[in-house]
Symmetry: C2
Subunit: 516 residues, 2 copies
């Protein structure tokens, strides 16, 4: 059943027992899981305890360990009977921890012979002011739109991507020519109104890639926002401004859109939680479209609790089918760079261990995936040209060349090609829906790599865009909800673990982030 | 040459290269010592870096690591080609650190494949006031005796054991009957005067076991001082008051005496640096004697720098022969309790690695050691009876029974027995001097165990006294200097690593504590 290489199943079962005992402060169980030997070591911040009995005495006298959530678990098997397990954890206060354990199989049972535990306090956020690369309408002293006097989002501040209507403001769509030609909006977009009704304040309007047709976050006109989680790197896009504002701690919630990854990619690059909602589940009135078959509303936040609260305000009510199985497809993992793949696997291992979920390996044919990707691009660009072709044609040279080229490629997709591509997508959609009945979740990298440096050349950016799109297009073409969780790390750079499920399973995905 | 079980010599050589490179911030060498693999892990307080290149990039961007001193090194060999090494370190500011490393032999060379580093800030000292179990004359607003206006000990405060004359004060010697019968001293003891001349202030007069004839620190009349480094435990004695005062941070220097371990044992139990000086090297005028053939002046401090400064003020000038070899005798290690032995070995391993000194195993015959110990006890008690017999006989029942019995046992040593015992000691002294030419240092446990609980029964205290005396009597009978360094830990309890050298090598021992 569990045939993803999480590690030796009996070792992982012992590790889960240890984690459960730790959170329950079950001292007897912890003592039993540590080797009963005078050479057993337990080290924390500054010193080491040697000997099982000394460790047991220490444990008996300390208060319970604060609740913590496994974020990444690395397994390094040494021999058939010994392995090192490195687990990275987070606490509710934003602090983090690492535990390194040497496990040995002693008399048939796995036991800890060396443990080293350390923690770090929460990082201090440094709010910055209204950088024009982040904000088209920066936050002022008063909210741009004040939320209801009560509600679950009371006191939370939202950065709205510049594709949504905010009453009294124009929509800029990341392009100055667009901004110059549009009227002031009379009413809030549906998603904006929903957040206001739930009590959140709209703090400001944040930048987007031009007409949302990019995953890079590089805007020729307004500048490239800095990535607060990865200095010197791009934020990803197209929800670049909301991602930068949330990651910098300037606001709590980023309201954005995701057509082909525009929530998931900046969430991945900026170390945020990001939800692409099920297609058509959240009202898109008052939103500038890109490719309506794939366009969705999405949200970004630094914590899963805030993300869940924001998504609650947007999504229709629905019963949650508890997740019973995680799927992983080697051909999807292989689309990521090698170290991104390792990082995502460590995060997936932590998730599966934390929730005690089996991980099943599925086969997704590489050639089929490529066909799906090509078909997706054709339909997306055909739709984008249908929606914006007149405007793009009327403003030659007023777009970033790569974006303009992307739009123009849609003009070349003829009716027959589009029909064929839509047939391919229907097949793909059926296949993915079949793989993802209620209770089943597909895990994959949110992006093929962490964020590139801001000064990366266009070719490098285009290359990772292609690899990332092959991953992100799956949820897009199958109308799936997809949640990016910021638990993987490539070096110091965040990268997302993406969880996709069947249409309507948004809340089931969010439930996977609850402490357990 | 190096035949003490420090661990695989090639592994330890690699570890030393690593430590040297770390302190020199030799990034290229550090990179070379980490396995060049995408699965290599380096974790610190709250997170892990995965992959050699990410670790190298991190290292290139960080400032040099602050100087640190290896305190304890634990080696756990897994296979012939893999081992975990846990090193505990201290920094100049009193902070501490732990690093756990998984080393593997890869292509013949040892490399780190997993490293986890963490640190803790210095512990905060909580000075307490004039507890009568610690102080016979507690510190007041002004010093009891003010030091010279300048000098290397300027600003340092001294607790003087209540065996030394302080001008204007009586000597209490830990016994109320003694205190009642003695005059006020007209002048300072030689050692007190030397510390004052060097600029230190005498803060107060601290308690001692009765007439210094105990290693426990339990004084029936004045109470048992609490051990600041080991809550609920004895401080050891007989320099109990100075040790408690120094360990609690109330003073910088403890001035005491060591006849049979009275500096080394409280240093061991209280986690202090303690020096027993070479017999007759420091002036004993103004000091109540116990057994003049073995009585020495000693000092206690929390740091090696303060200990060295205080010892400098007391000791005659002498050239230092650098230490070239450490000796270890299995029969001495076996006199310690099992976990104390492991703890002392970890501390010795750290010392040898830090100083790059070979450790040579020597044989000391168990039966000969027992003969030496018995002879030492006979001569010590005979001398003590000669010095204090009249007083003890005149005050029956006014001593702790065990102390009184110890004195009275000296009355039973006849002239022939004492002569025979002195012959045995002469042989022992010759053997130890032969083993310890200049440049050679013997390492052994400072005590056979960490401090016992305050409520331990007399039999338990007597048992560890016997085991400890078999260790401490060696330096006493051979007139050797002996330095106890507080780098071993049994559970959370301190225990000392004792370093003994030939007569006059006090400064060579102190030099071993210098950062290197």
């Amino acid at each position: 059943m569990n045939d993803f290489a999480l590690g030796d199943p009996s070792l992982l079962a012992a590790f889960r027992r240890y984690e459960r005992a730790l959170l329950a402060n079950d001292v007897a169980e912890l003592d039993a899981l540590f080797a009963d030997d005078s050479t057993t070591v337990r080290a924390d911040g500054g010193s080491a305890l040697v000997g099982h009995d000394h460790i047991a005495a220490f444990r008996a006298g300390r208060p319970p360990v604060p609740d913590r959530i496994l974020q990444r678990v690395h397994v390094r098997e040494l021999t058939v009977d010994s392995a090192v397990l490195i687990a990275e954890t987070s606490r509710a206060d934003g602090g983090t921890g690492v535990q390194t354990q040497l496990w040995k199989r002693i008399g048939g049972a796995w036991q800890v012979t060396i443990a080293h535990v350390s923690t770090a306090p929460p990082a201090v956020e440094t709010p910055r002011s209204g950088d024009p690369a982040v904000w088209r309408v920066p936050p002022g002293d008063a909210p741009l739109a004040a939320g209801a006097d009560s509600g679950p989002l009371q006191g939370m501040r939202v950065a709205v991507k510049d594709l949504f209507a905010v009453a009294g403001q124009r929509i800029g769509a990341g392009n100055p020519a667009w901004l110059a030609g549009v009227p002031i909006e009379a009413r809030h977009a549906g998603a904006v109104a929903a957040l206001l009704t739930a009590g959140a304040d709209i703090a400001g309007i944040a930048q987007t890639d031009e007409l949302a047709f990019s995953l890079a976050g590089t805007n020729l006109h307004y500048g490239t926002p800095a990535n607060p989680a990865a200095p010197g790197r791009i934020t990803g896009g197209s929800s670049s401004g909301p991602a930068a504002a949330v990651a910098a701690g300037q606001v709590d919630i980023g309201l954005g859109t995701d057509t082909a990854g525009s929530i998931r990619v900046p969430a991945s690059y900026c170390g945020l939680y990001g939800l692409r909602t099920t297609h058509d589940s959240v009202d898109r009135t008052g939103l500038v479209a890109l490719a309506p078959s794939f366009d969705t509303v999405g949200v970004l936040a630094r914590t899963s609790a805030v993300l869940t609260a924001a998504a609650d305000a947007l999504l229709p009510a629905a019963d949650i089918v508890p997740t019973r199985e995680l799927l992983v497809a080697p051909t999807l993992l292989e689309l990521a760079q090698h170290d991104t793949r390792l990082a995502v696997e460590a995060a997936l291992r932590a998730l599966a261990l934390r929730l005690d979920l089996p991980v099943r390996r599925i086969e997704l044919d590489r050639d089929a995936l490529e066909d799906w990707f090509i078909a997706f691009r054709q339909v997306q660009s055909a739709e984008a040209w249908r929606v914006h072709g007149d405007f793009v044609a009327a403003h030659p040279g007023e777009f970033e060349p790569a974006v303009e080229a992307r739009f123009r490629s849609g003009a070349d997709v003829d009716e027959v090609q589009e029909k064929t591509a839509r047939d391919v997508l229907a097949t793909a959609r059926a296949r993915l829906h079949e793989l993802l009945p209620p209770g089943v979740v597909l895990a994959l990298p949110s992006s093929s790599s962490p964020a590139l440096p801001i000064d990366a050349d266009a070719a490098a950016i285009d290359e990772i865009r292609g690899a990332t799109l092959r991953l992100t297009c799956l949820a897009s073409l199958a109308e799936l909800p997809a949640l990016s969780i910021p638990t993987a790390r490539v070096g110091t750079l965040p990268v997302g673990l993406c969880l996709a499920a069947g249409p309507g399973a948004d809340r089931a995905l969010l439930a996977l982030t609850e402490p357990k």
